[in-house]
């Protein structure tokens, strides 16, 4: 049914390597290096494109043309900006903790990389298919906050410190909501493995299968996901108008660029998890019963489906940022602990009841 099956490609590479080098450490290393380079390229290209997309989306929202000078429709603008950031001097900060200061951006980037590794882009196009994929992604994506805390603490700047502390409180709180809303779907899917979660949505996406509880879980996941990426209206860690730039106030050049790119890649991670768990991952849109429609939909390549859904979610998150004012830290925590968490717990019970009684579609 599917036009492109990446399992063939990956297994042929694997077999080719095994036949020439034999099963062993060397083969595994080479495979990891190939996958790493592929992910690195994807990271850079997608990050730059996401920055361009955000500039265009916010320009549309704000009644202005956006970047339109460098290259056709300004598409080279972000590349030019990135080159500028690469060549900029790294300003040394007095009395900063040098080791931690330099380490922080890499922790943030590593956490993002680790999460991308588990996401299935297409059938077989996935670096690692863990049994506990969803749990793994939830765990590693929260490592990023360590980098933010270190960045804030080691910069020797009060703005940075306040931003980092806010970010710590925020991410620790919203991890709960994000995790619980994913748990709701795990109850429905009966598995934590990403490939099986996607396979379970071949006929209908989970957001429709689980009807009301799944929709509630999806909305909560989008709110918590936006909060986890430290983007508006939850951008308290940066809070441009209050803390100038928050935790990355003192960063410059390529280290700043790493923070900046990781923000967009975190958006991608959240959108990709949302897509995979709620919106069927790379599965096409199917309506049970309409065979003609389903066949036409199935002819669109799964990779396109995946990125289409990811971009829809990313644009929704951008829409949040450019429309809403920022919350205050106590309001942010109140929203989580007093509203989202209880709703989530009730929703989880509701979903469990639905599954037990067979009410889901």
């Amino acid at each position: 049914m599917f036009l492109y099956d990446f399992t063939e490609l990956t297994s042929s590479i694997h077999e080719g390597l095994v036949s020439s080098l034999g099963e062993g450490l060397l083969t595994t290393t080479i495979e990891f290096v190939i996958a790493g380079i592929a992910y690195l390229l994807f990271f850079a290209i997608f990050g730059l494109f996401a920055v361009y997309l955000e500039r265009k989306v916010c320009a549309v929202i704000q009644n202005r043309p956006g970047p339109n000078r460098v290259g056709p429709y300004g598409i080279i603008q972000t590349i030019a900006d990135f080159i500028k950031l690469l060549m900029k001097e790294l300003i040394p900060i007095k009395n900063s903790d040098k080791v931690l200061f330099n380490l922080a951006p890499f922790i943030v980037i590593t956490a993002t990389f680790l999460s991308i590794g588990a996401i299935p882009f297409d059938k077989g196009l996935q670096m690692m298919d863990f049994d506990i994929g969803i749990l793994y992604v939830t765990a590693v994506s929260s490592l990023g906050v360590l980098g933010i805390l270190l960045a804030g603490w080691s910069s020797n700047n009060k703005y940075s410190l306040i931003g980092a502390m806010r970010s710590g409180a925020q991410i620790v709180s919203y991890e709960l909501s994000a995790g619980l809303s994913l748990m709701t779907i795990i109850v429905l899917a009966g598995t934590m493995q990403f490939s099986e979660v996607v396979a379970g949505q071949a006929d209908l996406w989970f957001i429709f299968k689980g009807h009301i509880p799944a929709i509630i879980a999806f909305v909560i996941f989008m709110i918590a996901g936006t909060a986890e990426t430290n983007r508006g209206p939850f951008d308290l860690a940066e809070a441009e108008s209050e803390l100038t730039a928050g935790f990355h106030t003192e960063y410059s050049g390529i280290k700043f660029a790493l923070f900046y790119l990781s923000e967009y890649m975190n958006m991608f991670v959240i959108a990709a998890i949302g897509t995979t768990v709620f919106l069927g991952g790379w599965q096409p849109f199917q309506i049970p019963g309409l065979d003609g429609f389903n066949t036409v939909m199935a002819y669109i390549p799964p990779v396109l489906w995946f990125f289409l859904k990811v971009f829809v979610l990313i644009i929704v998150m951008m829409w949040f940022k450019w429309t809403f004012p920022r919350l205050r830290i106590d309001q942010l925590l109140r929203l989580e602990w007093k509203y989202l968490l209880p709703i989530n717990l009730v929703n989880l019970i509701l979903m469990a009841t639905c599954v037990l009684l067979g009410w889901h579609l």
């Binding site: 929202i61 704000q62 009060k158 508006g232 108008s241 004012p325 919350l327 309001q331």
Partner: protein, 372 residues
């Protein structure tokens, strides 16, 4: 400004220098904030980073020259500041200006007020983290600035008033464009409510935040929309009508909630009041001289003079002591922003840093007017 920072706990508290370079002080204002965690315990404003000695410069200049310096005080109320000086000179000399001048001045003042409130709305949204407001506000402000440019030649600092009238007659297109602009604004202002006023996050950030009681507003001298948000009736246009304000019907917007939301809504309502004032005047501009013939060298008779006007941010006053020379012996500007800033410390104690920014935004401070 002589409040002392008290009750410092050296273990728990820390100081944060907010400014002089900071995105949301909207200028070079330095606030020394004493914080415990996120909570503001105390705040001390340090002024003077943009002190240009305007009052001292005025002493060496003639009255027509002073007008151009008053532009540079509160650059968003440039027209109203000019008007205050011109009214003072006319009052001192006993010159009666024609109705045409009064009408033009009033229309221009109200256009300035709309333009100033539009910029305030844009910047207030930015302070709260709603980044799109800035572009909405500036988009509409541009129409008013174009009108200014056509008639006065200046967009921000018009220097349109002169003792005895206005510099030039209005442009032939003036009335048509003002009416077009009002139609445009009436269409666009509901968008502002949709984008910001009704937003639940905005309501949480503004309602009940930055309380300033009526007594405190009076004792700190907080005027303008901020003072009227605390129930302090201080609209000079009503209390001491000047120019054509006695010929028009308008309401003094007063709210008694005393919070940021009251100050916000006051300014939103003032858009509509200003538009109504302009609508009443724009079709009835009488014929007459746009300038009364004055002596080439204006000398004020010996004595003390005070003239106040309602600028976009509150009561703007000019005090002149004249010794009969062509320049004032002493001049003092009563700037609304300095008085409004003085209440900030009182309002933010016990609030969070985010609220400090929101409250400062709701007061609508223009820093060059504080330092002068």
């Amino acid at each position: 400004m002589t409040n002392t920072i008290a009750n410092i706990d050296k273990e728990e508290d820390y100081f944060l220098n907010l400014g002089p370079q900071h995105p949301s002080t909207h200028g070079v204002l330095r606030l020394l904030v004493n914080l415990r965690g996120e909570v503001v315990k105390d705040l001390k404003p340090y002024c003077g980073y943009i002190h240009r000695g305007i009052e001292k410069m005025c002493e060496r200049n003639t009255y027509p020259q002073i007008i151009h310096l008053t532009d540079r005080l509160d650059y968003l109320s440039a027209h109203q500041n000019n008007e205050a000086v011109c009214l003072l000179v006319e009052k001192a000399l006993g010159v009666e200006v024609s109705d045409r001048v009064k009408y033009i001045r009033t229309i221009m003042s109200e256009l300035s007020r709309i333009a100033s409130h539009l910029l305030w709305w844009s910047a207030f949204g930015m302070d709260l983290g709603a980044l799109t407001t800035f572009f909405y506000g500036l988009r509409d402000r541009e129409h008013i600035l174009d009108i200014f440019e056509e008639t006065t030649g200046g967009r921000l600092l018009q220097s349109y008033n002169c003792p005895g009238g206005v510099m030039y007659d209005i442009h032939p297109n003036f009335q048509k464009r003002v009416k077009e602009c009002l139609v445009h604004l009436k269409k666009k202002l509901p968008e502002y409510d949709k984008l910001l006023t009704g937003n639940v996050i905005f309501k949480n950030r503004a309602i009940g935040v930055g309380l300033l009681s009526k007594e405190d507003a009076i004792s700190f001298g907080v005027t303008g929309p901020s003072g009227r948000g605390s129930g302090f009736s201080c609209d000079i246009r009503k209390l001491e009508p000047y120019s054509a304000y006695d010929k028009v019907q308008f309401d003094e917007i007063i709210r008694t909630e005393c919070d940021s939301m009251a100050r916000y809504k006051n300014r939103i309502d003032e858009f509509y009041q200003s538009m109504s004032i302009i609508e009443q005047l724009i079709d009835n501009i009488p014929d007459g001289d746009y300038q009364t013939k004055m002596k080439p060298i204006i000398k004020l008779p010996e004595g003390q003079y005070y003239q106040r006007v309602e600028s976009s941010r509150g009561e703007f006053g000019v005090f002149v002591e004249s010794r009969g020379e062509k320049n004032p012996y002493r001049i003092k500007f009563r700037s609304p922003n300095l008085a409004n800033l003085s209440a900030l410390d009182h309002m933010v104690r016990g609030q969070k840093i985010a609220d400090l920014i929101a409250i400062m935004g709701s007061l609508d401070l223009v820093i060059p007017d504080i330092d002068r």
